[in-house]
Structures are given as structure tokens and as C-alpha cells.
Amino acid sequence: MAAHRCGLSLVCILIFSSLAHPSSCDTLEKANDNTAEKRSISEVNTDGSVAGEALNERQWQSTDAEVDRSDSTTHSEALTPAAARDEFQEELVIRPLHSGDIYASFQFRTLWDTDFLQEGQKVSHYRLFPKSLGQVLSKFSVRELHISFTQGFWRTMQWGQPFIPSPPGAELWVWFHDTVSDVDGNWKELTNVLSGIFCASLNFIDLTNTVQPSASFKPLGLGNATDHRFLRYATLPREIVCTENLTPWKKLLPCGSKAGLAVLMKSEKLFHSSFHSQAVHIRPICQDEQCSSKAWELRQTLNVVFDLHTSGQGKKEWSLFKMFSRTLTEACPLASSSKVYVDITDNPEGELFELSPATPLLGQAVVLGDRRTYSVYDLSRAETFGQLRSFNLLLRWKGDSGDMLRPLLHAERYVAGFGLQTGEIHTVIYNNHPYRAFPVLLMDSVPWYLQLYIHTLTVTSKSRDNKPSYIHYQPAKDRHRPHLLEMLIQLPPHSMTEVTVQFERALLKWTEYTPDPNHGFYVGSSVVSALVPSMVAMRTNFTQDQPLFSSFVPVKEESSYFVRVYTEPLLVNLPTPDFSMPYNVICLTCTVVAVGYGSFYNLLTRTFQVDEPSPPLSKRLANLIRRMRGVPLLT
């Protein structure tokens, strides 16, 4: 058996090295030759039990090769003329979660080698890139745009980290080009235009909920712009995401929802889930390795978590059909790559769940600091669909659902206290790493009607004061801008850090209340951004499957990974007048009481004197004469 394994790994290495390519610009598929080598070694364990012939067919698929530009252009050259220089990729990652739920993440990536922001060049010929977005980018000189619509809250404790985190409601953050002179004006117009494109209430974004974070949101694409004057960030925690937002989002895809993975997106199923998040990320990236020119990347993501209890009817069995009420029949013809990945990391021997149809392809990538293994189904190959010409992935759980997870970084937030005058916002950040401390950036944007008492700000970890090394605080202006608080906090290992700040609830003008004032007012999620030491680096005892020389110093890019964690939004009740009939009664009664009280008080404090009526004219004249004569006056 051992000899078998060695032989297999050799084969694998050979196959791999013929496919492997060094460059990678995709975070998900970040892997290098070094790890590939390790992979192939560990793979033997994974599939030792499979029959020999199948083993030979099984091959390690280099995820990098697909991403690589030169490779894909050769692919697409057959399909399209070279002048277009754009390409489209689609993929679906399915991750079975410990709780028995299932996480499906769609990613669609359109890449276009053109520069919208170049002076004097008007881009008018669009192929794969949606024209509506391209025009927006060039009109408002947008350098980078990230927008997400989320319905639900990502349960980190049960589901682990998402691939792309997003806060409940709508989130929009935009880096403008540094040539823009009137950023606020552009921002206002941009939000209104996006509001139209996505059928969302983004037009409610105005200066009262826009902030300019100084450190938390750095550009993800090209360019080192760090002047946060050109950054705008806003969330609408109340935004409700539904089909009307999904349809315009689907329209941005080159195949629409007609072909490819997008056929799975039927709203009646997507919204029968525990979590739904759709996002659009646009950023400039390098066109080639030298980075001589820019390309634009449009990444559309859709994440959805299906609940075992509500959609699974308690049966621990998932299939594409059960999840989406559709199966896959073809890849999008315009796509250069179209793949379905299933995370089988926790299932090396098939003891946790059973996957059918089985796939010969395996992929491995370091995602969020953890090395994950994926079964890969390539939809561009006919054999994926089998004889029935339809691909329906079936996943049958065998094991029991696990306990709650302990993600390395986790944050939650709540309002403490009672009554309608004051309160306290508590943000609790957990570092569950057993021995590493790491810093996190906490960003809090609080609307002006919660008047923060910044002098009550305390940060405590392990019941000791924890002084933030960096604080950026911008106080609110009533009715003009929100509070912005950014802090760099060092989290001690295995600790709970609590950030508290007290606030007073403002009494709004009566026209400023929403139509449902007793529902409460939302405070957007706070954002925790951190470089978290990765799980891979945490495993010090991994000598069994790996050569010793590879394991002493953790590889730099794997040693920590970037994570953004959003806390739950808050719902805060403000002192609210009763707007119904009794309110009028109170107003009226108060007026009456005020008038009555005034008169009574007046009566009680005034002393009365009888006023002498003034004497008639004749008497006054007589008195005048008498005074001149020196005779006593008449009374």
C-alpha cells in the first residue's frame, strides 16, 4: 500500500508540475508550487482507498492555471476575436456546514482590459462588461466600488467565516479617483444612480450616514491611494433585500439567468434560506505581470445558506435540486471557465457525508487561513453532466452535526441598559487564538441621534484596561454627520475584549421620525478588520504528512490572513411621542393646564388694591387754585 502511495504521489507531482503556473491574483485560489507539492503528498491519504484505475484518472487540478490570463486567452481566442480582450468566469462553491446547513457561494468574474478613467477615451463598445456599470464608473470617476445587499446575519459561531463578509442591509463603499474635486456631489449622484440600477433605497444615503473611515477600508485593487478624502462608506442596515434587487443583479451577468450557474438563481428558493447576500465589487487590477496597464474586474457574488430544518425537512440530504429546485445542464457559453467546487476538507474519508456523482478532480486552496480541499466539477466538460445531460450534485450527511465553532475572531454587539434616556453600546470582540495576540481595527459609525459620551469610552480585555494604540474619532454634528470611531486594539490571546461607550438618546423633531417610530432606529454594524494568524500556521504538529524542511518557519503569505467581521446592527428605541389621538389630547390638555396654571399663579401671587377713581375736572381745577392759594386741598 505504501509503495502504491509513493507511486501515486510521483504521478501527481508530474501531472501537477506540467499544469502548475506561478502567478495568481485570486485570493481564493492562492496557492504556490510549494503548497502544491505538499498537497499531492497529503492527497494520498485522502484517497488511498479508491481503486487503482480511478486513482490514475484522478488528478490534482491546478486552480491557478485556470486563473492565469495567458492560459485563458488561448482558451477564449477560439471563441472570440482578440480585440475584445474580456473574459468571464463563473463558479459555485458549496460548503457543507457543521450545523447541517449548507453554504452556497456563487462568484462571477468579468475581466476587461480597458481603462474607463483614461482621459479623452470614451468607452462605448461593451461586450461582457455591463454597460450600465461601465458608464457609472467613467461618469463618476470611480476607482473602486463595493456594494452588497444582505438579508440576514452571518452566524460566525455556527458557520465559520464567509468568503466575502457583508453586514445586514446594504453596504456601499467607493473610492473615487483623486482627480475628483467635488467628492460629496459625486457620491450623492452615484448613490442615486446605483439606487436606480439595483432597485434599492440607496438614495437614502446622504451625509448623515456617510463616513470616511481613515483606516478600515483600504482599496483592494490597484493604486496606493490612502487619502481617505476620496473614500465614502455608508450602510443602510434597514434595507430589505428581495427579488426586486436580485433581478437587476442577475441582468448584469453576460448570460443573464438563461444559462450557466445563474439558472440556479430562482428567487423562491434563494429567499427560502437563512442567509442571503449579493454583492458587486469593481476594482482595477493589473493586466499582466509587469502591471503596465490596468484591467477592470467586476466580481458579482451571491452567498446563500440553506437551513437544514426549514428547507431540508429535517433530512440531512442536500442536492442542487433541493437547494435551487433546478439542476445544471450547461455552462454559460460565454464563460471561459465554469466550475462547481465542493468543500470536502472535513470529509477526507467520506465519513461525514457522501458526495455523488464523485469527481476525479480535486483542488486545494488556502482560504481564510485554512487549507481546504475541494472536489471540482468542471461544467465545460461534457462528462460532468453524465448521460442524463443534467448535473445534480447530491450530498448525503452521515455524521452528526457538530457543536458551535470557535472562530478565531468573532464580534458581537448589543445595547445595555433600560429606559429611554441613556444607554450603553457594548461591542465584544473575541480572540480565540490559543497563544497569539493580534491587533484589530474597530470601526463604529453611529447616527447623530445617539449622542455618544466619548469620555465614557472604555476598552477592557481580561478585566484590565486595554489602551487602543490608535483612535480616530469624529464627533457627530446634529442632522449633518454621524459619529465615526476607529480604534486599533490589540487583542490578547484567548481573550474577550469589551468596548463600551455610553450614549444619550436625542429627542427628534416631530417631522424627523420615521413612519414607524416605535419600531426603533437602526445603528449600522460595526466593522472589525484584522489580520488573523492563520490556522495553517497554528498547526505546529503537522510533521506526519509533510517534509520537515517545509514546516519550520511558517510561509509568510499563509501566516496571517485578512478578515473583516461585521457585528449585528442595533435597534434602538428613541423617546417617541404618541402620534395618535392621545398625543393631540396631551397637547391640548397641556395647553389648557398651562393657561389655567398661569392664571391661578397670577391670582395667588398678586395683591389687589382698590384703585381710586380719578377726580372730575372741576375738582382738579379747584384743587389747583387751592394749592396756589395755600389752602388745604379738597379730597
Partner: protein, 611 residues
């Protein structure tokens, strides 16, 4: 106002008021009592109706069907409870986890200021277990709470089991918009209080409790479930909460609507509703129900686990299953459906319950008396105090009135100094402070010197201080100014009357029942007090005796009359419970009585011994 600014007419009016003062006062008093008793007369009351649109027209369909499973769960729970000798925390955690909830526990401990003899506890240590059903696609901003206390013995097993069965059923539904928290609390109110304080991160009553890990945003409403038998004959709704706070009337309407829909007998104050309002029995029945509510509300304690939620602006009510000897029985499935319906309607809420009344009295579940109707009854009583004060004011000012057109007259030699009035005021209040502080703080000393238990020590110390207060202050003014003057006690009475009017007015705004009961007993005696009055009458209408009368009336109303000695024992336990409620849950009735009402009454007592 022209009437009053004309000095002559004003003089006539004040003359009229002073001349007819006593008859007017008597008429007001009688009118107040009659008005109050008339509130229970059905034609004068309003029919309840659902104000909240979100709960009104959208009738939900109840599909809960695992009542039988709940009953077998109850047996299992009972077995585990016996085995664990208390709350079976591990079993509960497992049971909730297997139903797909996020489960958390909170441990707490509290040392009572003195042993609670009713519930036999002193050092309380316990654990709350709660599971959160996360609503799909909801951002954890709103939550509903269903709680069932884990009581000792074999009571309330069915409630916990039904809670778990509901959790299982609810978990499989997609329509939840708010998270639902299923809480099983140990040591009834203490557990609830610890959990609420943990959830809101406050500490008002010195609990030592572990911090809470799982939260679900702001809680919109809560239901507490008490169920001790497999079948029930009726469901009782308990509304009275801490400090006489009541939940929004819509919650009671919701309960009533579902009882009607599912054909469940429902009661309030344990009394069924009658339809024969035009007969004397019908009226008496309604009046009894209302009086019970008034008495319960006045005592300011929480009559169920729901009562503590009200402080946090969470509308809450307790639903209590009653099994009596009627033929008509309701099974667990129906109760489950009733709760399902209520929770689903609450889940539909877009805003907090705010449409309907917060201040009301219920002569029956389908009739209510709103604040606008019952306040005049109190107003009629309170106006007596003001009339008497006016009368005194006029009498005191009479010599000054004579000198109206004279420029200024010298200070009247007979006018009492500030000191004569201030001294009794200060001494009364110091006695009040002693009554508030000493019983609890002196218990150890009392136990050392007398053969009594701690609880008895506290109660007896309180009574001793109360009685000592009667002996203490009544001759201070003689030390200061020799003989007490007519003028002196009148000024003191005027001050005390105004003070009492303000006190009762404020109390009635917060807790109408307490204000009204105090007014009924205190107003006649304080209005008519002169140094010539008999001290016995004064004592018989003192706050302590008011409590005693309330005990007897309450026992009479719940159809469990007691003898004098039993009544006395109940009275003692009421006092100890009042002090405990203040220490444990922050009830304000004991401090109000000790620090304000009793000193105020002492000021009148002072007048009795003026000469």
C-alpha cells in the same frame, strides 16, 4: 378668571367654599367611591378591541400538533429533574441543541437580605438555560421571549415540555421575522431577574451572575407559561407586573382573541366572565374581579415571571393553566396552538406594541376601563385635600385679609416660626428613614437578643419602629415654643395636606390602584384632623392598617377567607415579601410607604398631640 380677579366676587367665592367646605368634601368623597364602584358596571365600560393593525386582520393558522409528544417530554423532564435534584441543565441544553437552537446558559447567585420563609430560600444559586431560534434572514435586531420557570417539585413540568415542543415545531418554520428566545429559568423570579439583568447588562439589585453570551437584539414581547397538569380546564391571564406596571392592553386582547378562536375557557384573576351584567350578581362579579386587579396592582409586586420584563419596556404576560373540576378540558395541543397563534401574531408586529392602552383596569377580559374613566375617581378624592388646604389657607390668612387696604402691618406675633413646622417634618422623615433602613440592617442584632428567626426579626423590627414612630415626635413643638398654638397646627396641617396631595397624585399617576387605596383611607382622616380627634381612629386608618384591611379583603375576594390570627400571619408575610421584593427586584412600594407615606401620616399624627 374674571370671577377670581374681582376682589369682591373672589371674597364671595372663598366664603362659599369655606362655608360649604365640609359638605363639599363629603360629597366629593362619596362621589369618588361611587364613581370607582361604578367602573365595574358594564354599560359604563368599553369593550376591548385590537388596536394594533399588524395583529388584527391577519389571522394565522395554527398547525401545532405535538401536544402528546410534549406530555411525554414532560415525564422525561420530570425524571431528569428528580435525578439532578433541581434543574437538569445538561439535559435541557442537549434537548434544545437537538432541536436546532443556539443554546446558552447563565449561572447566577444571590444572597437574600434575609431568609424568605414563604419559598424557603436564602442563598440562591441557579442556572438559566435559554435557546435562541435564529429567524432566517433576520439581522438579530428583534426578539420574542417565551419563558417557563423550572419550579421545584413536579409543578410546571408540562410548561417546560410544551416550551421544548414549541421550539421544535417553530424551528421548522420559515416565517419567523424575529428571533425567538426559549428561556427556562430556575428559582422563578430571581432567575428571570438575573437573566434580564444579564441580557441588558445592568445591575440594579446586586445579583452575582455570569455574563450572557448569546443575545438577539431588543426584545419586543414576552410570554411566560405556567402549566402543571396534562389537561386544563381554563387558562388564566396574569398581567400585573412590578410596581403596578401593566403590559399593553393589546397583549390581553390577543390572548382573549385566541381563546375565543380555539374555544378555550379563559379567566382573569381566576374569575370567569359572566354575561348577566344587569343582575346584581353579575355586577358584583365584575366588581370583585376589578377589585382583585386593583389590590394586586397596588401591592406592586410581580405576579408572574412576566412582571419583571415590563421595566425593560418589554410587553409581557403570564399564561397560567388551571385544572379545576369542570368537565370541559383542554389538551396540550390546544394550548400549544394558542401559544403558536400568539407568537406568530407577535412575530408579525412591525413596531412595538404601543397602539392600545397601558393604563387600564379589567372588570372582565372583554371589558376594560381606561385611564380617562378611572382617574376622576381618584381626582374626586384628591380634590378634598386641596379644598381643605384652601380652607385652611383662608382661615390662616383671615387676619391678613382684614388689613388688605392698610399698607403693611407688623409681623403677627402669633404666627408660628418655621422651626415649629420644620421640626415635626424632619423628625417624621427621620423615622421614615429608620423604618426603611433598620429592619434589614438590625436583623442580626435582633436575632441575637430575641428568640426569633431572621425573617420574623425583620418584620417585627419594622412593626416596632412603626409603633415607636407614633410615640416619638408628638411633643417637639412644646420644647420649642412652649404651648402649641392653634395657628401652629393649622400651618402644619396645611403643609401636610399639600404634601399628601402631591404624594398621592404622583403615586396615582404611576400606580393608580396604590394611589387610590391610600387615598380612600388617608383622605378622610387627614381632611378632618384636629387636635381633638381620637387617636384610635387615626391609628385605625394608618397605612399599616390599610395593608391589613387589604389582606383581609383580598382573601375574601379570592374566596379563601381567613381568621384574624391567620390574617395577622399573612400581614407579617406581606411585609416581609414587600421588603424582599424591594431588595430583589427593585419594587418601589416599600420605600414609598416607608420614606414618604408613613412620614406624611406621622405629620398628621403630630397634630393630634399638638396641645
Amino acid at each position: 378668571m374674571g370671577l377670581l380677579s374681582d376682589p369682591n366676587r373672589r371674597k364671595a367665592l372663598t366664603g362659599l367654599l369655606t362655608r360649604l367646605n365640609t359638605p363639599i368634601c363629603i360629597v366629593c368623597y362619596l362621589a369618588g367611591i361611587v364613581w370607582f364602584m361604578g367602573l365595574a358596571f358594564e354599560p359604563f365600560t368599553l369593550r376591548t378591541y385590537m388596536s394594533e393593525n399588524a395583529m388584527g386582520s391577519t389571522m394565522v393558522e395554527e398547525r401545532f400538533s405535538s401536544g402528546e409528544r410534549a406530555l411525554s417530554l414532560a415525564k422525561e423532564f420530570d425524571a431528569h429533574k428528580r435525578k439532578a435534584g433541581g434543574m437538569p441543565v445538561e439535559w435541557l441544553v442537549k434537548a434544545m441543541q437537538s432541536r436546532g437552537l443556539e443554546v446558552f446558559t447563565q449561572s447566577f447567585s444571590r444572597k437574600l437580605p434575609f431568609p424568605d420563609e414563604n419559598k424557603e430560600r436564602y442563598m440562591v444559586r441557579g442556572t438559566n438555560v435559554y435557546g435562541i431560534l435564529r429567524a432566517p434572514r433576520a439581522p438579530r435586531t428583534e426578539a420574542l421571549v417565551i419563558t417557563a420557570p423550572c419550579s421545584p417539585g413536579n409543578t410546571n413540568n408540562q410548561a417546560v415540555a410544551l416550551l421544548l415542543a414549541l421550539a421544535q415545531y417553530f424551528r421548522n418554520q420559515i416565517y419567523w421575522a424575529k428571533d425567538i428566545i426559549f428561556l427556562v429559568n430556575e428559582h422563578d423570579l430571581i432567575g428571570t431577574q438575573a437573566w434580564l439583568e444579564g441580557y441588558h447588562h445592568t445591575n440594579i439589585t446586586e445579583y452575582i451572575s455570569g455574563s450572557l453570551r448569546g443575545r438577539a437584539g431588543s426584545i419586543q414581547a414576552a410570554l411566560s407559561l405556567e402549566l402543571s397538569s396534562d389537561v386544563i380546564t381554563s387558562l388564566d391571564l396574569v398581567l400585573e407586573g412590578l410596581n403596578g406596571q401593566l403590559p399593553n392592553l393589546d397583549l390581553a386582547n390577543l390572548f382573549y382573541a385566541f381563546c375565543q378562536k380555539l374555544g378555550v375557557l379563559c379567566t382573569i384573576q381566576g374569575k370567569l366572565q359572566r354575561n348577566d351584567w344587569d343582575t346584581a350578581e353579575g355586577y358584583t362579579h365584575a366588581a370583585q374581579t376589578m377589585m382583585l386587579m386593583v389590590l394586586k396592582q397596588a401591592c406592586g409586586r410581580s405576579w408572574g415571571d412576566h412582571g419583571l420584563f415590563l421595566r425593560y419596556h418589554i410587553e409581557a404576560a403570564s399564561v397560567r393553566g388551571i385544572n379545576s373540576f369542570r368537565h370541559y378540558k383542554t389538551d396540550a395541543t390546544t394550548i400549544g396552538r394558542l401559544l403558536e397563534g400568539m407568537v406568530r401574531k407577535l412575530n408579525n408586529l412591525l413596531e412595538r406594541l404601543h397602539q392600545s392602552y397601558f393604563f387600564y383596569l379589567l372588570p372582565s377580559l372583554s371589558r376594560f376601563v381606561s385611564i380617562g374613566y378611572y382617574m376622576p375617581a381618584f381626582g374626586l378624592l384628591a380634590v378634598i385635600l386641596l379644598l381643605r388646604a384652601l380652607d385652611l389657607w383662608v382661615h390662616l390668612g383671615a387676619p391678613a385679609l382684614a388689613a388688605v387696604d392698610g399698607v403693611t402691618e407688623a409681623e403677627q406675633p402669633s404666627s408660628p416660626g418655621v422651626l415649629t413646622v420644620l421640626t415635626p417634618v424632619v423628625i417624621s422623615h427621620l423615622t421614615g428613614v429608620a423604618l426603611y433602613l433598620l429592619p434589614v440592617h438590625l436583623q442580626e442584632m435582633a436575632v441575637e437578643h430575641f428568640p426569633v428567626s431572621e425573617t420574623e426579626a425583620v418584620v417585627l423590627t419594622a412593626i416596632a419602629i412603626y409603633t415607636a414612630g407614633l410615640a416619638l415626635p408628638h411633643n417637639t413643638q412644646r420644647l420649642l415654643s412652649g404651648e402649641g398654638t392653634e395657628q401652629g397646627w393649622k400651618v402644619l396641617k396645611l403643609t401636610a395636606l399639600l404634601y399628601l396631595a402631591v404624594l398621592l397624585g404622583c403615586t396615582a399617576l404611576i400606580n393608580f390602584s396604590l394611589g387610590f387605596i391610600l387615598a380612600v383611607t388617608l383622605v378622610p382622616i387627614t381632611a378632618s384632623i384636629t387636635p381633638a380627634l381620637y387617636a384610635v381612629v387615626m391609628v385605625l386608618l394608618s397605612p399599616a392598617f390599610t395593608i391589613l384591611y387589604c389582606v383581609f379583603i383580598y382573601q375574601e375576594l379570592i374566596e379563601a377567607p381567613v381568621s384574624v390570627s391567620e390574617g395577622w400571619m399573612l400581614f407579617l408575610s406581606v411585609i416581609s415579601q414587600g421588603i424582599l421584593d424591594h431588595a430583589l427586584y427593585g419594587s418601589l412600594v416599600y420605600p414609598l410607604l416607608a420614606l414618604f407615606i408613613y412620614p406624611c401620616w406621622l405629620m398628621f399624627w403630630n397634630i393630634l398631640f399638638w396641645n
